[in-house]
Amino acid sequence: MADQAKIYLLDLNPASDLGTTLQGILVPSLDSGILFRHESIEVCEPAFGGSKLTRIIAHFKPDVLFLVLSPSHLKQTGTLFQSTSRELSEFSTIIVVEECNPDEMFALLKLGASDFITPPLKAINILPRLWRLVEQTRRSETLTRTLKEKLGLRQLVGESPAFLAETKKIPIMAKCDANILLSGETGTGKELCARAIHYLSPRASKPFLPVNCGAIPAELIENELFGHVRGAFTGASVSQTGLIHEALGGTLFLDEIDCLSLSAQAKLLRFLQEKEYRQLGSTKMCQADVRVIVATNLDLEEAVREGKFRQDLYYRLNIVPLMLPPLRERREDIPLLAHHFLEKHAFEFNKQVTGFASDAMRMLVLYKWPGNVRELEYVVERAVLFSEQAVIGGTDIFLPHPKATTGQESLKEAKAKVIAQFERTYIQELLLAYQGNITKAAQAAQKNRRAFWQLIRKHRIDVQSFKPGQ
């Protein structure tokens, strides 16, 4: 009996049909290894349940508790969670509520809730989460998990308040299964954060699939995401499952989400709402349990206003937002980051480079970093590579000098120009270092070959001229 998974459904909002619907989903799927209890209590004050909850915990010792609440309960539930936080840490609690205010839900997650579910309640959305939480609770690799969180998050280098305010959200975001919108300029570490969320989540043992929507031609993106059946279009001689299917059980990270066409946005929205999609050319609906994390370096609200991004999709994605600050807004982190990259690349190139001279560090701290942390890493990598001294001096630091603006450009235009210039120089330097070998240059940039090729085309760089003998 001790090995049985125990699930408790405590319905504190029986006036709604959430508890009944949930029971209807849970009961048929429970096998003999599961012990299930359901209780409904009508309460006006959710100071209600402190003692009730403590009793349940003491007697039933659930692995997972479903707590059905009414939206009016949410504020007081915080008090309940605070008073029972020690007991709550022994199992997973999933809040089920008709509608959620993102701030209140985030506060509950911070206080100890594991996840939250809002209608429509669907088996495909609930059962996989439940089994993952049961498995996680019962695997009891607490020490491994704690160390993984602690050491894993150290990869997000920075101590500035602006950066920490955002990265502190990651463990909380990892616990729940909500869609996440990561925003921040290029090179601020959005993919690093998405990966941290995945690997600290109960989905960690399943695929993490990063996709750069900007690197896939607009007309192909739907095919890439949803796949197609044989004969769907000319040349579709075999079926292709698509990225959603490939990410089953795991996390799909869609970078540059703003590059999706409106038609692809509509399909993605349907998938996020219903966990259902159709392969191109198919009439059959497929279901998939995949968490979606998206990222953008644009202001999506502005894109919504301009009609380039669907408002309903924006709201669906923006449940739990995380906004990474640009490097120029956390200059105090530059020395820390610079030393981190110096250590990394000195090890990689097997060079005895140990630090920065004060003039070099001053240059790094004063520069505007339009390419953010990625650009800083590239500058430090290059300095380590070419430095002939143990200490990197000012002459080892190569920073691009963008032309002064005409004074008639908008911030957006001026920024785009600087980023474009950085990208172009960066690609040229890599092609030079790898003698025009695109595969190697793409690997060094940690981009896939296709995405790297798109950048070469975008900047009309002549790869041949970098090849030996040219």
């Binding site: 491994t144 160390l147 990869q155 960690a204 043992s205 399943k206 993490f208 250590e343």
Partner: protein, 94 residues
């Protein structure tokens, strides 16, 4: 790049990646994720196993004693009756 807590040998890296796949057959990621998270998890597990083994050895030799706490966790502390012997061993190690 320094890999998770010192897994640097190529053979060991290969071994740890394959072990990770066996433990998590559905996992999939790029080079970045493997370096940042898979090898980190493997090295944490290796380190925990090593420390557990050493603790068991120290308990077996009587240098430290183990006790089950009320929270069902095992707590370790020095065996005070062996204090001088331990000091002598530590001196020799230096």
């Amino acid at each position: 790049m320094k890999l998770g807590l010192g897994i640097t040998n190529e053979l060991q890296i290969g071994y740890e990646i394959l072990t990770y796949f066996i433990e998590h057959p559905d996992s999939r990621d790029t080079l970045e994720g493997i370096m940042q998270w898979w090898l980190l998890e493997r090295s944490i597990k290796l380190q925990i196993a090593k420390v557990k083994k050493v603790l068991a050895e120290l308990v077996a030799r009587g240098y430290i004693v183990e006790q089950k706490g009320g929270d069902s966790q095992t707590h370790y502390q020095i065996n005070k009756s062996k204090y001088r012997e331990i000091q002598a061993i530590l001196k020799k190690c230096c």
